[in-house]
């Protein structure tokens, strides 16, 4: 069974209320989700709180997961990103320790096993990103990995918001065309 198929059946068992399966899922995916959350929040304590909320949300929503609509890892990463971004917005700004914390994140443990399936997908997406204007690709990456608003990115990059939105939207639509061709 592929990693993704195993995750689908684990989520189905969690949806049916199987506690052991939640622990299995946690062991298989928590490093990945923690990495995603930490990249957005940079602050460990907060990231740990959010990670906890994410698995509680997964337990409660597992029965709603529809494998025909989403891949399991994307579904979980989406929950993690949304929670982390929520927290980031509530905080209003990033901590001042940005650079140190970011370095710590980069030096962290290797990718979890379940992500191996995702590697090919990631390569395809990267290939699609590589067809874009490098500035557009960079902005899309910033938004995705750092959870920044258009406003924050506009300030940081010194590019008007309207221009930035245009880059991002056109870039993502071009990516879609490349990925679907």
């Amino acid at each position: 069974m592929s990693g993704a198929a195993a995750l689908v059946s684990t989520l189905a068992r969690i949806g049916a209320g199987d506690r052991d399966s939640l622990k299995m899922l946690y062991d298989a995916t928590s490093a990945k989700l923690f990495g995603v959350i930490l990249r957005i929040l940079l602050e460990r304590g907060e990231a740990e709180d959010v990670l906890q909320e994410v698995y509680i949300t997964i337990w409660r929503k597992a029965a709603e997961f529809d494998p025909t609509r989403a891949s399991p890892i994307t579904w979980m990463v989406t929950i993690a990103r949304n929670r982390a971004i929520d927290r980031l917005r509530a905080r209003g700004s990033r901590p001042t320790t940005t650079l140190d914390a970011a370095a710590e994140v980069r030096d962290a443990a290797p990718t979890a096993d379940v992500a191996i399936d995702a590697v090919n997908e990631a390569l395809r997406v990267n290939a699609a990103l590589a067809t874009l204007d490098p500035r557009h690709a960079a902005i899309i990456r910033s938004a995705y990995f750092e959870g920044l608003t258009y406003e924050a990115m506009s300030e940081r990059e010194g590019v008007p918001i309207g221009t930035l939105k245009s880059w991002v939207r056109r870039g993502l639509m071009r990516m879609r065309t490349v990925l679907e061709s």
Binding site: K32, E48, V125
Partner: protein, 242 residues
């Protein structure tokens, strides 16, 4: 859509993309979260962008989380510890108060419902923006309050807070509003498993006034095929200003 022209600012297509990317400000994100629950077409478009972007997360290195995180998840979900209010600043944070209302209502279900339903005199008109709540008791007599529905006019959403778990296997709960002798108007299918805000179609918001009845019926998957309730009504209660 396949053209590389820009998505028009303010369009649903642009909003779906911006939300999936995570580039919106906090309040816009929350309003989109509400909408996702009642607009399946829009939710599909968001999911499509999320699937497109999802593989990017493969680039993020995993970081082992400390054991205390699992211990906290385990404690919160499976151990008999006092419930902890989640610290998230999401829309659910504001639900704590309604949860408290629901818990309070459970103990005195019959009395609470009686008060809400039999409040005498002309139906008071709620001031603009006032919250309205209905404790929706199970229509199976003897059961506790099933759900507390709080209507927030500023959001145009009903926040549903289940007070007791309900097994409605294979059927989909659908929410209705009934004003006077009008036929019930569907407010869409809902999910009773989780506290949530359910967006009310703009055209129906005028009906959400003190004295209107909210009801939940059990319908086939996808909701009533006829536009009127076809299944059993499992809960009903009147809106009252709180």
């Amino acid at each position: 859509m396949t053209e590389l022209d820009n998505l028009p600012e303010g369009s649903d297509a642009a909003l779906a993309l911006d939300f999936a990317l995570g580039a919106l400000d906090g309040s816009t994100m929350r309003s989109v979260e509400l909408r996702l629950r009642s607009d399946p077409v829009f939710a599909r478009e968001v999911a499509r962008w999320q699937e497109q972007l999802g593989p990017l997360s493969g680039e993020v290195a995993g970081v082992a989380a400390p054991d205390t995180v699992w211990a906290a998840v385990d404690r919160e979900l499976f151990r008999a510890a006092p419930p902890r209010v989640p610290a998230a600043q999401s829309i659910w944070a504001t639900l704590a108060i309604w949860r408290a209302v629901a818990i309070g209502a459970t103990g005195v279900a019959a009395i609470a419902l009686g008060l809400l339903v039999s409040r005498p005199g002309a139906a008071p008109v709620a001031p603009p923006g006032a919250l309205l709540a209905a404790s929706m008791a199970s229509t199976d007599s003897g059961k506790a309050v099933l759900i507390t529905a709080t209507y927030d006019p500023t959001r145009g959403a009903v926040i549903l807070t289940p007070a007791a778990a309900d097994a409605s296997h294979g059927l989909t709960p659908e929410l209705w509003v009934i004003v006077g002798k009008d036929a019930p108007k569907s407010l869409g299918v809902i999910d009773l498993k989780d506290p949530q805000a359910h967006r009310i179609p703009a055209a129906l918001r005028a009906r959400m006034n003190s004295g209107a009845t909210l009801a939940i019926s059990l319908e086939p998957a996808g909701g009533s095929p006829t536009g009127a309730p076809t299944g059993p009504v499992v809960a009903a209660g009147k809106l009252a200003t709180i």
